[in-house]
Symmetry: C2
Subunit: 339 residues, 2 copies
DNA sequence: TATTGGCACTCAGAAAGTAAGAGTGCTAAT
DNA sequence: ATTAGCACTCTTACTTTCTGAGTGCCAATA
């Protein structure tokens, strides 16, 4: 087991390193913190920490830098997360107030989170899971096309163009629309498939194919959107912190643009402590993220849909602040959406 | 007037500089191009070009680099734009095929443009200008709220939540919805205000306020979306070309994230030659763009709505290729949307 | 008049050398 | 277990030197 004082030393190293961006040595450590022991003693502790692969010396005569493992231990021992200051709380309130629809709210949220942390922020759109259908609209578009609009009780709107392959029969579409709404109004998304089964039979044989087609599209919409979309803000922050990422931001930037990767990353993360999930450096499955850390928290939409939001930054980030911000924003968002 | 050969020299300098990213000197210039004259002569020409502020020497004994003005002249003299190769054309076809709705199509387009040019690509959503309304939907959402969905014949869907301030009367909403659709179906967006005038009078006095409120929101939707949204792709390319931007990408990145600035930038640009509009370095009104160039072209949606698309990169970019790509993609997009 | 070879001159950037300082590990004493 | 002391190690920053690409100008040439 690692003695208490050594852990304190680790914490001090992490803190100083985050603040100064310089490897920290035994001397400056005793200067800045009151350990009540001499530098030599600290050096012994440091040797121990290095033994445990918690810190690492870039070269022989340099100070130490926390390893991913070191950050991890540091974070896990972070028993109480820093509270946000009054200014930050106020900022959150101001930012959130007066947003009307889902798009607007999430857009504001992501910008808020980014400006709060000075990192890249991301917000995942709610998954449809437990939402229910409020309305289905079918609108003849071009000659042979129908526009389907799906509205859920969480205020989400999805649209999709369906190519029927033959001219649209408006009366038929109106009928189908009416039936769909009667059947599906209030139905949970997961029950849609069940609910519409057999619906095609109630139509004239000539129309069955079209009904099938439209239903298939409907189900696809319901289903496909389980893989959700993510919005981002503060990408410029990555570049500002460029040298914090051992020289190469571009893999990170590329990954960020690739929704798929981001989604994968996010869904792999399950809430751990304080309701926040954390991946440090190489803990991330995607290798381009080996110098990046991801802080994620879940939030809830009114229909108890759940999705995630968080920030991405260099491993050398201020975990305490970022965790606090992510957690607070997630809570506020849940509250806002609760209305 | 500047003699022909000097202009040739300018062209050669621009080309070589773009290719090598190094200031180009008289010696290497005569080596690479067959001018039929000696380096000394070229030097005289270069002195002339420098006189005219078309090229510039970073320091006394270095080669020359084109100035913004030099690039400008180069581009203006570019009488025939490079044609895209077979591979690129194929790429465009493949990329575009099978996109269903507007979102999908524009999303693909922006990624295509980015991968074609290796720059940051942007696509502006069509402005509503000449579109007409296909359908208005009013859906009771929460107790006191109504969700308004506006669908145009260009496939655009807008949504907005309206807070009524009192409980929603479903029958009333249904009535209003019906009337709106009767009145507005097919109406051009610019005629909406006219068309709904006096509509409130046809309702019971108790409902007038609500009608007014909803109509106001409708008009706001129609109008507010004239300031359109822009989607981006390939931001990572900026960072890869970081040193092409005299050291500071971050103002560019920040501007890019700020839709407003981008919109302003784009709307200021009017088609010049080849249907393409170009701003080089300091020609951009926004000062953060002093080391960036913007290539923009308009495209048309079916309803003859018009919007723009283009790329952003360092002033030291391959104008010929980029102009060709932007122009080609704009054409393909117009064609695709024409269906 | 336009072009050219020749030449002295400039200056950024690379290479090499030097100096300073922060930090380490080890040892012997407390 | 802690500490002071010390020799040793490297990185970083700073100087100095060198080199070569490139220039501008001039006098000669076509």
């Amino acid at each position: 087991m690692i003695p208490d004082r050594s852990l304190e030393v680790l914490r001090a190293i992490v803190q100083d390193y985050i603040a100064s961006k310089e490897p920290v040595g035994s001397k400056s450590l005793v200067e800045r913190h009151s350990f009540g022991v001499s530098a030599a003693t600290i050096r012994n502790d440091m040797a121990l920490l290095e033994e445990e692969d918690l810190i690492h010396a870039p070269h022989t005569s340099a100070g130490r830098v926390p390893t991913d493992k070191g950050y991890r231990l540091f974070v896990d021992r972070l028993n109480e997360v820093k509270q946000l200051g009054q200014a930050e709380r106020q900022a959150i309130e101001n930012f959130m107030v007066g947003s009307a629809d889902l798009d607007e709210t999430l857009g504001r949220t992501v910008r808020l989170l980014s400006s709060l942390t000075n990192q890249v922020a991301m917000v995942q759109y709610p998954t449809l899971g437990k939402a229910s259908i409020r309305h289905v609209e079918l609108i003849p578009a071009a000659d042979t096309r129908v526009l389907m609009v799906l509205i859920t009780d969480s205020g989400r709107i999805q649209q999709h163009v369906i190519e029927l392959g033959e001219n649209v029969d408006e009366a038929f579409i109106a009928e189908l629309r009416a039936k769909l709404n009667t059947l599906l109004g209030g139905a949970s998304l997961s029950a849609v498939a069940e609910t519409v089964r057999g619906l095609a039979e109630t139509f004239a044989p000539a129309k069955k194919v079209q009904v099938q087609l439209i239903l298939a599209n409907l189900l696809e919409q319901v289903d496909a959107n389980r893989q959700e979309k993510i919005i981002l803000a503060g990408t410029a922050n990555l570049v500002k912190r460029e040298d914090d990422f051992a020289g190469s931001v571009s893999p990170v930037l590329e990954a960020i643009e690739e929704q798929v990767i981001l989604l994968k990353l996010i869904t792999e993360m399950q809430a751990e402590q304080h309701g926040v999930s954390l991946r440090i450096g190489k803990e991330n499955s995607f290798e381009g993220f080996s110098t990046a850390s991801v802080v994620v928290s879940g939030y809830e939409n009114q229909g108890s849909e759940i999705a995630k939001l968080g920030v991405i930054g260099p491993t050398r980030m201020d975990y305490s602040t970022n965790i606090a911000a992510v957690r607070a924003v997630a809570r506020y968002l849940t509250k806002t959406l609760g209305n």
